[in-house]
Symmetry: C2
Amino acid sequence: MNIILIGSGNVAFHLGLVLSKKHNIVQIYSRNTENATELAQLTSSVPVNDPDKIDRNADFYLIAVSDDAIKPVTELMPLVKGIVVHTSGSTDMNILNRFKNYGVMYPFQTFTKERKVDFKAIPVLVEGNTTESLNTLIQIAESISDKVSVINSEQRAMLHIAAVFASNFVNHLFVTAKQILKNVDINFDILYPLILETAKKATEIDPEKAQTGPAVRNDTKILKQHTEILNNIVNDEKLADLYKLLSERILSQSKQN
Amino acid sequence: MNIILIGSGNVAFHLGLVLSKKHNIVQIYSRNTENATELAQLTSSVPVNDPDKIDRNADFYLIAVSDDAIKPVTELMPLVKGIVVHTSGSTDMNILNRFKNYGVMYPFQTFTKERKVDFKAIPVLVEGNTTESLNTLIQIAESISDKVSVINSEQRAMLHIAAVFASNFVNHLFVTAKQILKNVDINFDILYPLILETAKKATEIDPEKAQTGPAVRNDTKILKQHTEILNNIVNDEKLADLYKLLSERILSQSKQN
């Protein structure tokens, strides 16, 4: 397939690299010339920063830009015949309905430019406006991942929210734990085995069954002690609120089971 | 060393197994006869449920019971000469001051009975009432773990709070993500690669640098959309509050960096 990549951020970077092994990346279009040039070099393609120069005859146009930028960028693009897809979790497929063939290809992973990822193991969720678009999309997605599923825009939006909880918010709790330890001069790396085991355990036994700690035991003495320490020592007034809210949720969850 | 194990829950179970490979577990004392018998069989020791029958001549008495049970159990115990330690994160060492030699041995991991753990990689935090107690404690801790550190009760309490955030609360977010996906009939296992990569990433690059998602980008449109979906679709009124609180924290955190 001849592919045009639109965007040069984290998602564009990782998708560009993996797609270039199986397909011909013709151009990288991006306002960020530096990123586009770097990615074009890595994928043997041509960087473009004028939308009028976007090749009109490619098979596949992959828009990997921030959610807010999808609409503006489509308005700059020529009305191509190839399939135009975005990669966003929370944007409806129909944002692309000025094109004839369109869809979504949502790679379900957290991407950081410097980190290599094993794309084969990453779920890729696809949606297409016609059976024909969808079939081509599935073909491309299966060339890079072993875990391709078809889901609709509503499911994808919910999947994105679940990812915010299971990844973005989880990472924020790691940041918080690091700050708590800083108060008593303990290095964050003491948490590494616990962090890795917690994640592994949730993927091997049900997370409901994996719940441990003072909240699920309803250990009110410890819960009170922790709230007091958080109130007194750490310079973050909302931290005790967060502790209470999450502890209450764990307790109420355990009562439901 | 001759060791008496007091307790037969998750922590007692894992510590008993690993200690029995290097030391002689003489007795398992527990009110739960069934658990004590099972653990005694696995560690070639003798189950005891009468506190008067606890051997007075052991070198080391390891109290691995719930925090609330530490004080009552010490009051039942004979005033032994061996070192008496508890394994609690949030209990001061001095709760054991009716004994001559005492301390704390806090294994820093989340334990579930059915899951094997690699004890060598688990940080074990120790504290002793005298240099002599501490040295013996370090010796025992180093017989099972490569990551032994000496910390005081204040540091240990803070470490326990950090663990609640980085493990118990993280697991609750996994439970929450699972429930969110249930609303659109998507199986939790789609999150496995994301969960594992999020944990791995936080242990390989700074969690502050690993933060991704709509909150850190201050993508107000997506944040609003997610809150509305959570309010409308999912039968959990506090879920939108949690989403907002965590998103605000991520945003304020990113402004500090």
